[in-house]
Symmetry: C2
Subunit: 168 residues, 2 copies
């Protein structure tokens, strides 16, 4: 899978080497391998719902939810979810951003897997876990395709089980 | 499936009744049924890649791509895709918006299914088809979970095959 991930220099800004997974996703075998590798890890774990942050996270979480026979819950930027929400603010390099989840997103779904394409600084991941917990559900694990180890995101969510397929 | 879709009045603005599919997605059986109903329609069609527009479209297109053994191609808002893109502008009720696709998104993938949650006015759908074709690929069909028939989106993409599971 690693060979299908493309390095794009200076995106989103100078000096950053962006790990582009679109080259993995567009490859039928690569996409299947990534989804199945995560499924293999969680197939015997009791999971009621998979939650993912828009937008790339949906590409990982939705097929995984399907394979696990679980529901899928989208975590979104403000203004996108139509019903009542919980909201969490988290820090970016400059400023803050916010994520929302429907308050009734996990009713009946107690055990939640958070799936995303990338673990970077862990800020988004931690905010997502807080949102799941504010809905009264439990975070069973985080599953990522890529982990950027040099950003130490794992430390920010050290209280949780963490799986990543590819490490840089 | 229809019974799992929630009507949210006055979203995103007064007088609109929003069809909220998060209540379908979070239901393990409902999510599975929606994905499999689309898969059943396309399972014997030769499809190399599934393309979907961010963000809700990814929730439909990614599992469908997996089941069809196809690659998945994200169509995104400007500034999200890191490599060289094609861009299409399309009209909104007030003003315009733009969508982008990687220029190399479909190399080797000639036959493309465009999957999305909702066919409304058809503006986004038509822009997506143009992007696929600018990449040298062919649009085999559009597959939607919901079609809002009173908005006549079907007319805007009348040159293409169109499938929708639930009509309002």
């Amino acid at each position: 899978m690693k060979s299908l991930i493309r390095d794009v220099p200076d995106f989103p800004k100078e000096g950053i080497i962006f790990k582009d997974i679109t080259t993995l996703l567009k490859d039928d075998g690569g996409f299947r391998d990534a989804v199945e590798a995560l499924h293999d890890i969680y197939r015997d774990v009791d999971i009621d719902a998979v939650a993912s942050v828009e937008a790339r996270g949906f590409i990982v979480g939705a097929p995984l939810a399907y394979l696990l026979g679980a529901g899928f819950v989208p975590i979104r930027k403000p203004g996108k979810l139509p019903a009542e929400v919980h909201e969490e603010e988290y820090e970016l390099e400059y400023g803050t951003d916010r994520l929302q989840v429907h308050r009734d997103a996990f009713d009946g779904a107690k055990r939640v897997l958070i799936a995303d394409d990338l673990l970077a600084t862990g800020g988004t991941a931690l905010a997502t876990a807080k949102l799941v917990e504010r809905c009264g559900a439990e975070v069973v694990s985080f599953g990522f395709i890529i982990e950027l180890e040099f950003l130490n995101g794992r430390e920010k969510i050290a209280d949780y089980d963490i799986v990543s397929l590819i490490k840089y």
